[in-house]
């Protein structure tokens, strides 16, 4: 560990709490990796070493797991990580044009980050919001029904420190690190913010209630 600045006592205690959720400690590896990203922004060498020490694993075993999953980043991403869905349905309905527009506006390509560290870009696969296509995720919050123009404005706002509000998410967009903590199972108290459902989610229910009135 000597090469790296150690995690704080408090951070190490949080790791222990995460491990205690599981009957077997190794199961904690994924939330621990999310937790490391919440502190360091990506899976750092010190993160790998700490997890290996905590779980009594070789660092290679931790790296093997980390490198399997696309949400774990081996290099820093932006404060705001923009994912454009380019799976078939979103792509056809505009995702491909949206991704191009985002690249043009930011001057970066897939898996790259702007020089100021603010915004990074990724082509993502289906994010379970197809009734709101085309879909864009920022720090894994939903931005529904996007267009090239809306995404150009969105990335400008992200660059200028005016993060837009997610369509179905909290009232303010949290940073990549802050949202990584939620994925590690650490509550940020924002569950009550935002809508319970978007318009498409309610489409069938509203029709059913109309059927009942007839």
């Amino acid at each position: 560990m000597s090469d790296y600045q150690a995690f704080t006592t408090e951070q190490l205690a949080t790791m222990d709490k995460i491990i205690a959720r599981y009957p077997k400690s190794r199961s904690a590896i994924m939330p621990l990796l999310h937790f490391v990203q919440s502190i360091d922004g990506y899976v750092t060498p010190r993160g790998i070493e700490s997890i290996a020490l905590k779980l009594d694993l070789a660092t290679a075993e931790v790296t093997a797991v980390s490198s399997f999953y696309t949400q774990y980043k081996s290099e820093p991403v932006g404060e705001y990580h923009v994912g454009v869905c380019i799976n078939t349905l979103c792509a056809v309905m505009g995702g491909d044009a949206i991704f191009e527009a985002a690249c043009d506006q930011l001057g970066i390509k897939n898996h790259e980050t702007t020089k100021n560290g603010k915004v990074s870009l990724e082509r993502i696969e289906c994010n379970a919001a197809c009734d709101f296509a085309p879909v864009v995720m920022v720090n894994w919050e939903f931005f529904d029904n996007q267009t090239p123009q809306s995404v150009k404005e969105m990335v400008d706002d992200l660059q200028n420190g005016k993060p837009p509000v997610p369509t179905r998410g909290p009232n303010t967009l949290r940073t990549w690190k802050e949202n990584s903590a939620v994925l590690a199972g650490l509550s940020d108290g924002l569950a009550n913010e935002g809508v319970q459902a978007g318009p498409a989610t309610l489409r069938g229910l509203n029709i059913a209630q109309g059927q009942d009135k007839k």
Partner: protein, 433 residues
């Protein structure tokens, strides 16, 4: 016209639908004491008799799955909920959990009691932070209300429930890959047998159920089997969530009896987008062979969709109109399977790369007609030759698009490239984008 049947979605119009107070206001947590007053075996028998089948794709009877867990074996049992919803087109579990997470929590308590599990897990995909927030709050509130933890409602039954966020691997929706992932390994499928019911999580007897399957349990317990069986068809009982997306006027979630048709859902919801016609659609995600307009009246239940040559899958109705190039769609889905193949089995790991290369050539007009046969031959060497169904899913879009649109593949060759304008298929085609 079939009537829609909102059950899981009935309270979604309330702004606080995701809170424990709202869930209770709509009759939530009434099924739990009913279940706890019966023996676990009685609960299993009731769900078996109900005819509830898995809503995650395979359609396996939920009660039978529970019944496979050996009893009196003095081993720890586990219930693991698959909330890794990632099948392209599938978008039902995430809105369900955002709007009504307590239906799942109550179902988990009942299911765990039935299979005699004292620790349950929810494996949720990691790319949905707000859904994670809502679900974690629901779990915390259930603990605070004495619905989780020790001696639930003075029944003597204990249950711990742990929420576990994945990290972006489609393959973890496959139940044995999910278990490997939950154990802290790379998410790769296991060879079966042994099935999870015998050796699942930590090699202990384990049930893995989809979110919607488990969330449907409280309503069945509360309203009874007669009520449940009044909905649906002979072998496909009950209500379910259909997710309509694509080139339609009004995409969204539609909770209906099993057996409703796409024609009915389109008529109810306002049809295709104005001025366009249906070209092809998936009944249950990209891994289910495509259908065309000739299948509009196929009852969307397990048997009828299967008899028509596809699978009900996740009931993800992705609808594409005449502006969509079918070769582009097949290529893009193939790129997905290539990206998501876990690499364990050679036919899938290597084969999905070959598929993408061939489809790239075909889309660019560099293919020949002989390539189409080679493509099918490749598919034949991939499907059924791997541990899990990802490989089968990977070939489904290719075989089915070739079956219905072979001439369109050939048109790419004669045309020297794709004859479609991709802008025409976007939603902002008229917005000058």
């Amino acid at each position: 016209m079939t009537k829609l049947t909102p059950v899981l979605s009935k309270n979604w119009n309330d702004a606080d639908s995701f809170t424990i107070a709202n869930y209770k206001k709509h009759g939530g947590y009434k099924a739990l004491p009913k279940a706890l007053s019966q023996t676990p075996d009685e609960v299993i028998a009731l769900i078996k008799e109900s005819g509830l089948r898995g809503r995650g794709g395979a359609g396996f009877p939920t009660g039978s799955k529970w019944g496979f867990i050996p009893q009196g074996d003095n081993k720890a049992h586990y219930l693991v909920v698959n909330a890794d919803e990632s099948e392209p087109g599938t978008c039902k579990d995430m809105p369900l959990l955002l709007a009504n997470p307590h239906s799942l929590v109550e179902g988990i308590i009942i299911g765990s009691y039935a299979i005699r599990a004292n620790h349950a897990f929810i494996y949720i995909r990691g790319e949905v932070v707000h859904v994670v927030r809502r679900l974690q709050q629901a779990i915390d509130d259930a603990y605070a209300a004495g619905l989780l933890g020790k001696n639930i409602l003075n029944s003597g039954f204990d249950l711990e429930l742990t929420l576990h966020a994945g990290a972006g691997a489609y393959i973890c929706g496959e139940e044995t890959a999910l278990l490997d992932s939950l154990e802290g390994f790379r998410g790769q499928p296991r060879l079966r047998p042994p099935f999870p019911a015998i050796a699942g999580l930590y090699a202990m007897p384990t049930v893995v159920n989809n979110v919607e399957s488990i969330a449907s349990v409280p309503a069945i317990i509360d309203n009874g089997n007669e009520w449940f069986q009044a909905m649906g068809t002979e072998k496909s009982k009950g209500f379910t969530l259909y997710s309509l997306s694509g080139h339609v006027s009004n995409p969204g979630q539609f909770e209906a009896p099993l057996g409703i048709t796409l024609r009915e859902i389109l008529e109810l919801s306002g049809g295709m987008r104005p001025g366009h016609q249906l070209k092809f659609w998936t009944p249950g995600g990209s891994s289910t062979p495509i259908f065309t307009a000739e299948h509009l009246d196929v009852p969307l239940d397990y048997e009828a969709v299967s008899a028509a040559g596809s699978m009900l899958g996740t009931k993800a109705l992705q609808v594409f109109d005449e502006t969509t190039c079918v070769v582009r769609a097949a290529l893009r889905w193939s790129e997905f399977y290539k990206h998501e193949s876990c690499g364990k089995c050679t036919p899938c790991r290597e084969g999905t790369w070959w598929l993408v290369q061939m489809l790239e050539d075909l889309e660019a007009g560099r293919g020949t007609e002989a390539d189409l046969d080679k493509l099918l031959d490749l598919c034949d060497n991939i499907a059924g030759r791997s541990f899990c169904a990802l490989a089968d899913g990977a070939v489904a879009p290719i075989i089915s698009t070739l079956k219905y649109f072979r001439s369109e593949y050939i048109l790419h060759q004669t045309n020297g490239g794709c004859p479609f304008d991709p802008i025409a298929s976007t939603l902002f085609e008229t917005a000058g984008a």
